[in-house]
Symmetry: C2
């Protein structure tokens, strides 16, 4: 069933049908319009937009790559992206790279082959092949970064969060509540968010006159398992700590589990601070004090920015930084340090 069939059945030319399908401003008489619409309805015709997009040179598709769909942080971001895309008549191609550069590249290649109108990427952090990078560049498809920087797209604008500030605020909170031996349970070392949060952590220690101890700093991945294992390592070591700065809520989830298994009470013996404020954090026991990111909004604004790039709106290549806020819950004790 094609546009030709409809044209034939309606006794008009396919140009007219095309105008109807696309609500073309250059009107069609109300009479023929209805006539054509009726036929379309009756036979269940659906235009092949892919055919149209080859002429139009736009597909109304956006590609989005995230590293881990199972990390609750990302689905929430996706929701924001999705909502914005749908509001503007775009469909999102959501792909999960599994923090694997190979998959990330495969998806990027697929995006170009499918001629998406724009790409959003939360990169796994590893460098991609020069060949692909060039292809993307040549393809002229705008790219917007979400939440993470990328060495492969140094010029691309993005929506970021002020991680250093957030980590600083969070660490100060731990210190305020009496912690003096705070370990840093970070995500992957190669990702900028980890490094930025580390800087904020270190800065807070410095300003409070707490000496920095490298053995308190552990990297891993943004996963519950990583948090669990690193926390266990610490508990099994000689280190005596009284606070944990987790680089992400899911890391904190793992840490809390390890602490529970060791029967360490939180926050009485050890305070735990997360980062992200994912949905589950309020439901944990103890509920998690954390630095909340505007997760949904990051996704929403990223698509906004991407659409701006597509339309070459002014200011479309400026990055935006969003802010975090401290959410107090049970896993830390405000003011314990004052007693």
């Amino acid at each position: 069933m094609t546009i030709n069939d409809i044209a034939r059945m309606a006794g008009v030319s396919k140009g007219t049908v095309s105008r109807v399908i696309n609500n073309n401003p250059r009107g069609v008489s109300e009479e023929t319009r209805q006539h054509i619409l009726d036929i379309i309805e009756r036979v269940g015709y659906v235009p092949n937009r892919m055919a149209g997009s080859i002429t139009l040179a736009r597909t109304k598709m956006l590609g989005l790559i995230i590293p881990d769909i199972q990390n609750m942080f990302f689905p929430q971001m996706v929701r924001g992206a999705e909502d914005c895309a749908m509001e503007h008549g775009y469909t999102l191609f959501l792909c999960n790279s599994d923090s694997n550069i190979q998959k990330e590249q495969q998806y990027l290649q697929a995006f170009i082959e499918k001629r998406v109108d724009g790409i959003l990427i939360n990169s796994c952090g590893e460098r991609m092949e020069e060949r692909l990078r060039r292809s993307i560049q040549k393809s002229n498809i705008p790219v917007v970064l979400l939440d993470r920087r990328s060495k492969d797209f140094p010029g691309a604008p993005g929506i970021f969060v002020d991680n250093e500030e957030g980590a600083y605020t969070g660490t100060c909170h731990l210190i305020d509540s009496g912690c003096t031996a705070i370990c840093f349970l970070g995500g992957p070392e190669g990702v900028n968010t980890t490094a930025e949060r580390f800087r904020g952590y270190r800065q807070a220690l410095k300003e409070s006159g707490i000496s920095f101890r490298p053995e308190y700093v552990l990297y891993g991945s943004y996963s519950t398992l990583s948090g669990y294992e690193r926390m266990k390592n610490i508990l099994e070591s000689e280190l005596k700590i009284d606070g944990v700065f987790a680089g992400a809520d899911i890391i904190a989830v793992g840490a809390l589990r390890a602490l529970r298994e060791r029967q360490v009470s939180v926050p009485e013996e050890i305070s735990v601070l997360g980062f992200d404020n994912i949905a589950i954090s309020a439901d944990l026991s103890p509920s998690l004090t954390t630095m909340a990111q505007p997760i949904y909004e990051i996704g929403y604004r990223a698509v906004s920015k991407l659409l701006a790039q597509i339309h070459r709106d002014p200011g479309c290549d400026r990055s935006e930084w969003m802010h975090t806020t401290l959410v107090l819950r049970e896993s830390t004790q405000k003011g314990r340090g004052l007693k």
Copy 2:
């Protein structure tokens, strides 16, 4: 940059370039092949697969609709689907309907317009417009159901779980551990999984000679909030219960929170059983006893089945039922009833 440009640069016809791009069995001499490949590499040409797919009448795209990307159950299912799709060179169009029939329909429409080769759907449960239903039918795009039945696609095969059996096993476990007043915190009433789990629950009660009490049965949605609110309702009522059958782990998460706020100890005073075994369940405190579903595999096999449908393999329209297994953790006490 098109196939014509490459042909011109290589001094061959575009037919030859096309053969190279697609690894066409009807060979091209190794010499020209390399020559063309070199040029492609050098100029960073990426073929426009959308143009090709209009001739081929296949896009190598699969559409997948899930109701809630923020319910950890689904991302895990998506992972399975994605892996299978990628292994076979297909890309997944993942869409989140937000349990909203309007969005679901919009996405389905988009799937047809984009001429995906197949559709996977975990429907929100509400009926869709007849018009759309007919279009899908006429489009001849194969449909496979995941986890949930759909009234709109009664004939479509699917990958399902034996929910009744699972709920029966789970409820028996609660009874075994001494519960006699077990409430049922279900998902949405309109979804078949809820109804099936209810049947298993009721059957277990019956066989144990525990009289069924309709006031113990509450429906809601598959969400933490729903579990929280329903549980609170029960706790604020006169009802004295000692067990909770939650229709999903995320419902159990909400229930556990409500219980904690009321200082009800789990499992000592009330046992809680979940359904799904999502990743977080093991990390909760108390960790959640639950009926594990082979979530990843549901997604994987659904895509397998869809590809089988696309290729018209034998047996491709038979549904498959998978089984659940009881995972014992801290939120219930095995054998408490024996003391």
